[in-house]
């Protein structure tokens, strides 16, 4: 476990100046969870087809599938925030420097922070309401799925605060500004 945390190989090196090393293991774990989610629902859809074809359908497999899927989406949404992998309409901030850059970077993250806080606060309210709702046929509480939204909200708040503090201290400009990456960097 110590070695796993000491060498977080799935942590992206870009935007290092906006990150705390203390949160690298968290990014690593979230990336692993993304992998587990897609592996999980690949396996559950596979089992679903096999058992259905064999004449012994297991109905709760579909619920497991949607669970892996939904958690994967929201965990991925959170980790993409730390890696700055989300899709943007424009990369206008990269072309700026100095106070205008700082203003825009802080403003943009403030918007993300507000949305993430809404996901956290109202997501918790939805989670509490959904504790009383169950999905047939396995009667898994709906809350087991909808909990993914506030969890993602909390993680995005954390990563946003991390980037705001580090950006304020170190500046938002970095060597990545000259690059023109689109999509996910491995």
């Amino acid at each position: 476990m110590g070695d796993f945390l000491a060498r977080p190989s799935l942590v992206i090196a870009r935007h290092r100046h906006l990150k705390w090393r203390a949160l690298d293991p968290l990014e690593h774990v979230l990336m692993v969870l993304c992998g587990i989610s897609i592996t999980g629902f690949t396996f559950s859809v596979f089992l679903d087809v096999v058992t259905r074809t064999a004449g012994f359908p297991i109905l709760w497999l579909q619920l497991a599938t949607t669970g892996f899927f939904a958690w994967g989406v929201f965990i991925g949404m959170a980790v993409a925030t730390r890696r700055i992998d989300h899709l943007n309409l424009v990369e206008i901030t990269k072309r700026l420097s100095g106070p205008p850059r700082t203003f825009l970077e802080v403003f943009n993250r403030a918007i993300i922070l507000l949305v993430a806080l809404a996901m956290l606060v109202f997501g918790i309210q939805n989670f509490m309401n959904d504790l009383g709702s169950f999905r047939a046929p396995s009667l898994i509480p709906l809350a087991a799925y909808t909990a993914s939204v506030p969890v993602a909200g909390a993680l995005i708040v954390l990563f946003c605060v991390e980037q705001l503090i580090n950006g304020w201290i170190n500046g938002f400009e970095g060597p990545e500004d000259t690059e023109d990456f689109v999509g996910i960097v491995k």
Partner: protein
Amino acid sequence: MTNGAILLLMAAFFIGFGYMGVPVAFALMAGVLVACALTPISMQSMIGQMFHGIDSEILLAVPFFLLVGELMSSADVTNRMIRLAQTMVGHLRGGLAQVVTLFSMFFAGISGSSTADVAVLTRTVAPEMTREGYDRGFTAALIACASTMANLIPPSIMAVVYGATGNVSIGGLFLAGIAPGIVVGIGLMIYSHFFGPVGLKKPRASLCEFAAAMRASILPLMIPVIIMGGILTGWFTPTEAGMVASVYILLVLVPLLARGHIPDLPRDFVYTGLLYSIPLALVAAASAFGWMLAYLRGPDIVSGWIELFAGHDGRLIMLLLVLLFIVIGDFMDAVPAIIIFMPIVIKLNELGSIQPLHMGVVIITTLVFGLITPPYGLSLLVASKFVGVPFSRAMFASLPIYVVFFVAIAFTVLFPDIVLYLPKLLLPESVGCFKSPTGSGYICPP
């Protein structure tokens, strides 16, 4: 405040934040939350709508088709298909340009992702094109344009999202996308032949070379057969077909053709896990945005405007929607565009009595064009980056190729009988046909 004013405010916040650099998913949700503050709709219900937007079994096809593309490109199995394309068209004028287009048609039948296609071609064929003296702007433009076929020729992620949100048969959309996909492919080959660089003249491959290349490619080329065969025979849903294709690659292709890649498979899964979450986070946010748009009667307002110009003329309505989606596709990603504007599309389908499958394939073909137009031409951005050429140079090189896409869009609008021929033949229910009570054949609407 009137509904129209709230709609404008919501759109202004989304576009304003988006163009200030806020990621699209968050800009969409910011617009929704502003609208919540001005309407009786609770923020809690809109955050819940984010979850309900992705709580769909059909959308599971998206990660599977991304996984197929990721596994195929990272395991380097695609080289065999490039070799096959070379033996088929490598001897023609502008041989490598023809190879790019033909390979993209093959790859489109395997992966639903244009970006995966760009990644493969820029890594393999692009360096060879540079060595043969092709202009790098042209190389990036052609690769980007050819990669768009991944969203037309099945399996297509855009078709999955359109079918899931618009309640249109995904199998039908897959089949209907083949005709415009082929039109784009043939158009690019004609363009490269007559207007592209000459390249190096190469001898025609012998029959033996072609047979050897075909034999080497036969296992990867089974993937489209598995996907479409499974869907058309009714054995699999599109989601299950994507899963079966992924399992086929894992259990057959990689062990037989790329054994050395096995230790890297966990990493492929991890990155695909992240890769699929990004468009689906957009789906979640766009679903809340689309819900609010529908609540504020946006479809009635927009369809009212379009009715003023087009009346109930289906073809004119379609033409106006094409113009609208060309503009939308220039500025935003296709996935949120489909989800946000779906209520409007459904309303206009009813207004003009348009076959929903026909409208679907027209809109997908139009949005595909947005992948190569500035400022948000994702395929062109990725291709220019990977080929190492400024975006503006790739954009200017792609301008004459736009004609091919205009022809494809016009073809899709004007010849519904040809576009819908395959769905009518193989999946009659997808175009509104139903089984004859006598038990023989189908009864189809005119």
